[in-house]
């Protein structure tokens, strides 16, 4: 499933979704920047279409570059073994600090684990995904702040234990 037909199919079904096409670093994997509001739509297409059938969300990672959160979806297909990388980005300084981003758990159920991790570490709330119970929780309940953000300041004290190096007397 080469790049040309993939792009043409995407453009005709979801016009204007693909913002930019580039190579992923120095590897030959195709990376498509998708605008945030049509990510679910694009995910739907590339999974259902039986020539593309990218049905396995291999990796969903988020990173903060400057003032934007960039989400990288590495999607590959069991049938053809081909891989595609989708990119979505969202502005980080939103009022209330919680960035909202469309969730893809409806098309790829394995996204639950990745998304719940990103929710805790980056402070993102994924919209209208499957209503999964928060099975996989990483941090202590009621942890203040989102650790993987660049401007995160380490806590001074957690659970009454001072988060510092010097050895306190035996408790």
């Amino acid at each position: 499933m080469d790049k040309k037909t993939l792009l043409s199919k995407l453009n005709e079904v979801v016009p204007g979704a693909v913002l930019r096409k580039q190579r992923m670093g120095r590897s030959e994997m195709v990376c498509l920047w998708i605008e945030t509001k049509s990510i679910q739509r694009v995910a739907e297409i590339i999974k259902q279409d039986n020539e593309i059938s990218l049905d396995w969300l291999e990796n969903l990672s988020a990173m903060q570059i400057g003032e934007a959160l960039v989400f990288t979806y590495v999607v590959s297909s069991w049938k053809f073994g081909s891989t595609l990388i989708l990119r979505g980005s969202a502005d980080i300084n939103v009022s209330g600090g919680i960035v909202s981003f469309p969730s893809v758990t409806k098309t790829w159920p394995m996204a639950i684990a990745f998304e719940s991790e990103i929710e805790e570490l980056f402070g993102v709330s994924f919209q209208d995904g499957t209503l999964h119970k928060k099975e996989k929780s990483l941090l202590l309940h009621g942890w203040v702040g989102f650790p993987l953000r660049k401007d995160y300041v380490f806590p001074k004290q957690v659970l009454g234990i001072s988060h510092c190096q010097q050895v306190t007397s035996n408790v």
Binding site: N59, S61, M63, I65, T72, W78, A113, E135, L139
Partner: protein, 377 residues
């Protein structure tokens, strides 16, 4: 899985199995609802081993990031190192000399054997075969001695560098490795008699912890757990990396009609066969070991990583370990994210446990070999 004849339709007892429990291999919280002996529903809570590795990687300089990749999960340490090194080498466009690639293959296969032996020992312990557990641990010591001979450390070797390996492999090492491979092959036959083909073990592991291929597909499961369900995916053969190209690997797979498809017994069989393939790979790597320098970068050279990113796939002992390395040209990495294989196992647990008996909980968990420090990062 649910044969309704065993239902007692009593009201459900809830069993809270806390982080520290003798049935669990690593701290996690399981709240099971059981109707008599049959587990009806399971909910899992993880996060107890969250160390914040990815944040630490962003603070430390590039040179120290390899040591942190070890600490992601100690029983599969070399794979995380390899993934990180390949990622950075792709960004810097650094050529890795063929001898270093072969040494990397030897190290990762040794680590795979020691990780699988640890899983077999855990399963033997959970079914009560303490003698087999101790014998497996004794053979695992031989592999750990080899890792120590090469790198000085038994678990997190911290031996790989960007562009190759820290030191060359001493010449006595190759012979000693071949000799250990022979003894381990003999020992595998010994496990067959005492554990694998003993009918009490088959009785304990048959139809226990059944994972269908659909569930494995849905949660994106890879590695021995997925091969036991018949899902054929191995990064070493599908997209060979770092010198695996000229080594032929026969990947073990549970055939479709296999009567043990997807249960705990098939997972153990697949792990034993993977040990055999790893030994075969070690022998081939030993033969094809070229002469040459072991690292294309002097240790004292400064590591400058230009802007760029890379996504690397590596076959760790638990499945596909992905590493997404992003650098913005600064002295410290911008973002290093690991796609850990045990996450799929943890996601599949609430659907695997129901239908099994309560006594089999430790057999299921040990046969799935969930590396919790990998899941919680």
């Amino acid at each position: 899985m649910f044969d309704s004849s065993e239902w007692l339709n009593t009201d459900l007892n809830t069993f809270e199995i806390g982080p520290y429990d003798y049935r669990l291999q690593a701290p996690m919280k399981l709240s099971l609802k059981a109707d008599g002996e049959l587990i009806v529903s399971a909910a899992i809570e993880t996060g107890f081993l969250h160390k914040g590795v990815e944040k630490a990687l962003e603070i430390q300089k590039w040179r120290a990031s390899i040591a942190y990749a070890d600490r992601l999960d100690s029983s599969a340490a070399v794979f995380a190192e390899l993934a990180l090194c390949l990622g950075v080498e792709e960004i810097i466009m650094l050529p890795v000399p063929p001898r270093a690639q072969k040494i990397r293959i030897i190290l990762s296969e040794l680590n795979r054997i020691s990780s699988h032996l640890a899983c077999v020992a855990a399963v033997a312990r959970s079914t009560g075969a303490l003698a087999v557990m101790h014998h497996v641990l004794r053979d695992r010591e031989q592999v750990l001695d080899l890792l120590e001979l090469v790198s000085g450390a038994r678990f997190s070797p911290n031996f790989l560098r960007f562009g190759g390996v820290k030191e060359d492999v001493s010449d006595g090492f190759i012979e000693k490795m071949i000799e250990t491979c022979e003894t381990i092959l003999i020992r595998l036959k010994e496990y067959d008699k005492t554990l694998i083909f003993s009918d009490t073990f088959i009785g304990r592991a048959k139809k226990v912890g059944l994972i269908e291929k659909k569930l494995a597909n849905e949660t994106g499961m890879t590695g021995p757990n997925a091969k036991a369900t018949g899902l054929m995916y191995d990064v070493r053969s599908s997209s060979p990396y770092s010198g695996y190209a000229d080594i032929d690997i026969n990947v073990p797979l549970a055939p479709a009609g296999h009567e043990h498809l997807g249960d705990a017994y098939a997972r153990i069989l697949i792990r034993i066969q993977e040990i055999a393939t790893s030994i075969d790979i070690l022998k081939q790597a030993a033969e094809k070991m070229p002469i040459g320098d072991f690292c294309s970068k002097k240790p004292e050279d400064e590591i400058i990583v230009p802007r760029g990113e890379a996504y690397i796939r590596v076959e760790s002992s638990r499945g596909l370990l992905g590493c997404h390395v992003v650098s913005d040209g600064g002295p410290t990495p911008a973002r290093i994210q690991f796609r850990t294989p045990s996450m799929a196992g943890v996601m599949a647990l609430p659907k695997v446990l129901p239908g099994n008996k309560l006594d089999d909980l430790s057999v299921i968990l040990s046969s799935m070999d969930l590396g919790m420090s990998e899941v919680d990062k």
